[in-house]
Symmetry: D2
Subunit: 151 residues, 4 copies
């Protein structure tokens, strides 16, 4: 993985502040773990409210968290006035997300002026065993100097 | 679109019963609208708990609902003992989901013995205006005679 | 499908001229059939040089043609000085491409200032039977006033 | 990356033999470089016949080669009578493929009884500089004991 330099020293504080405004992430009970330049990790303990019919984490919930993890990985490299809407993502579900905790990591693969591409992985933890249960490839857009979500 | 025949007369009851067990869909406040062979529509009124930072429906929430809509579209054509895990999906976010209601539709494009491919669309309604805000392409797997989520 | 208006009256001539410069399309033996605002159809008769091991059209060749069809569908709506690189696409192979001819259609789903989203379909023709064998979802970028392929 | 064990000692010979039957790969001038359990590398020198309008490798050609690289990465882990059709793939084009050589690598991320997921990368070489120009996520199917391409 390439090593990236943030444009601002307070990139982590900025990401953490933005994360607290994400009602969706609060609703589903996630927390922001690690934030580094071009990288973001979100954690989510298992809870009944997001389970699917077999009692596992639901794939759609994983999709949401992966989307956020990739977006914040990109946002670490932007300036405060940039907006970072998701253009698209693609998700493969590799195994049932059966465990006590899901660790979701997003990392920037290519940083562009307009488009940034990230890769994401969801790892389910059951006792001592870790298993990759989902894999994402995502495109983010950077919109400078506007505070709107629009392409 | 091809026209599909359900294998069971009670396909709709079966889909509706399964939907009530989806905690994730209850958590985010969706309801199952239309169910036809190879087609499923889910509706979700706007609520603060799922909004992203600009007050729109969050893309990740749309992803979850689209994933369900495609999955249930496929499930209308299966038998009760079939399990239908998502293999993968790809989502394009086309416009901000700014409105009072999101209508999410999934339809089967190709029905296969093992793999079924669906297409999904999310339409945001703001006053009298409807706008497609997300588009999905999805692969579902059919697992016969087992009640597990596993590939 | 939305109806689109081209920005130039000579959009078709422009698309046809550009197509003749695509060595890849000549190499694999395609021809440009229909061009309409927001729509493009490319045809390819079967030939041994592109077959895969079972004698069908190869999926990768379909991917190439679908990518072009979506790109030219977008290009019908742009001006001559715009460049239209592919950002990404996702392809589902639905059935073996077994036949004498493949008809590949691309259409614009959403036209944006920066990003345009298209949908594509490949239909294989065997005798009198037509069958959808591949389905694509694609994102194109518009770069104004530069003649480079770069994001 | 997980470490994988091939089911047969002659996995490499089997992959190399199959590759020689791929007319598409011969048409576009590729060669099979490295083959390891769960991994495959294909190389392609630049040639005019596959260039797009700006003289770079065409994205569709990269898609074809990435599709093959992922497929053969999976095939290293299967038995001779298995058939490995592509279910779907998603490709991001990250940079113009401007150079003398493209190195395309596919690797298995998850090996399943029915479905196998791979990741692919295309690296363009220009003089001494290597640059990732495309990234793929792919799903392959395993069909045991049949010699057909069909799902």
């Amino acid at each position: 993985m390439e090593s990236f330099k943030p444009q601002s020293e307070i990139y982590e504080a900025r990401v953490r502040k933005s994360f607290t405004k994400q009602n969706m992430m609060a609703t589903i009970g996630t927390s922001l773990a690690e934030v580094r330049p071009g990288f973001c990790e979100i954690r989510k303990p298992f809870s009944d409210c997001l389970s699917q019919q077999h009692g596992f984490f639901h794939g759609g919930a994983l999709a949401s968290i992966l989307d956020f993890a990739g977006g914040y990985a990109a946002y670490t490299l932007f300036v405060e006035t940039d907006t970072v809407p998701t253009v698209e993502f693609k998700l493969n579900l590799l195994a049932p997300a059966d465990g006590q905790l899901v660790i979701v990591q997003g990392e920037v693969v290519r940083l562009g002026r307009t488009l940034t591409v990230t890769r994401g992985e969801a790892i389910v933890v059951k006792g001592r065993i870790k298993k990759t249960c989902a894999m994402m490839q995502q495109t983010m857009m950077r919109i400078s100097g506007r505070a709107e979500f629009t392409e």
